[in-house]
Point group: C2
Chain length 170, copies 2
DNA sequence: GAGATATGTCAGCCATGTTGACGTATCTTG
DNA sequence: CAAGATACGTCAACATGGCTGACATATCTC
């Protein structure tokens, strides 16, 4: 481990110190970048009386229509009770509908209504605005590097689930 | 806005669809990458009966000893009541000490005790383990791209504050 | 000396996570 | 076909960590 307190040595004097600084830089940028990006949607959500938890559900349902409740639970990594509350509220507001699975009728397939899709699109537009500005200012090469590092943060066991979001299933 | 439901068009057929996919990929990787990284420290925190909020305070105090309460408030972007609770608990556990500012005696300068520094080092070690593995698997070029994109997510008005963390002030 | 500033604190509320227990419909398998 | 596993829902209680509003104190600045 690098020396955390880093006494009065000049910065960069040792490869170990350099390493720590690179890690802290990543931790900080991830923290500020992530929070600032999510801040972008708070105003839109507040207007609807909804929170971040609702957005996460809307997002993944938009991303993968006919997602089952179980799949959504695995993506969000929360308890079914927590998710139940969120889905109930989205259902009451006519933003999400469910229908029984074709192959397995115990499952509920989730879809956004027009109203739900409209809100998700509005929220996505905010994210898009911030993130595409960051992409443009950093350049395409940086964007692929950005992806690669983040992919490395996702544990092997979750990677397939995350990558599967990019497959069309409609 | 691009068509969210993306009917039966082949992916990549239009620049607009491509753009949307690149944005969604970033949003998802940021979400999963950030949450998986923060998950890395939960076990250590739980052992101490502390939460994420305590970690954020410990982290920034470790990063910038003699930080004032006001500076920490700006970094965390929470209310003084919320921060007060956290600092009080860290103080009670002898992890943080304060002393009056030299130049402005209304200020309180924050520092970690040995015990606090030891915990922060332990937490940092977990972050380091995950993040350096991601850095290694992505390669140095990717790391700088990763930084650049994230820097672009931090609004102009906050950028100085974030970059100042990298300056030594001891 | 008056007002601004840095900090603390009381009290109550809200969003969103947790555990544990239990119920129902449906699927799968011996 | 009966038994057990699975997918989903729900009740209740609780924890964490945000929030607002109001008010107090010490210190700095003009």
């Amino acid at each position: 481990m690098a020396d955390i307190s880093r006494p009065s040595t000049s910065p960069g004097a040792s490869p170990l110190f350099l390493r720590e600084d690179e890690i802290r830089r990543g931790v900080e940028l991830l923290y500020f970048g992530y929070t600032r990006l999510t801040n972008a949607i708070d105003q839109v959500l507040a207007r609807q009386g909804l929170g971040r938890a609702h957005h996460r559900a809307l997002y993944f349902i938009a991303r993968q229509p006919d997602l089952t409740v179980g799949e959504l639970l695995r993506l969000l990594a929360i308890t079914k009770q927590s998710l139940g509350r969120v889905l109930k509220e989205l259902h009451e507001r006519d933003m999400v509908i469910t229908r029984p699975g074709q192959v397995d009728r115990r499952q509920k397939l989730l879809r956004l209504t027009e109203k739900g899709a409209a809100l998700e699109a509005d929220l996505f537009a905010q994210l898009q605005e911030k993130l595409s500005a960051a992409y443009v200012s950093a350049g395409q090469e940086s964007v692929t590097g950005f992806w690669h590092v983040l992919e490395g943060l996702v544990p092997e066991s979750d990677r397939q689930m995350v990558f599967d979001l990019r497959k069309d299933r409609d």
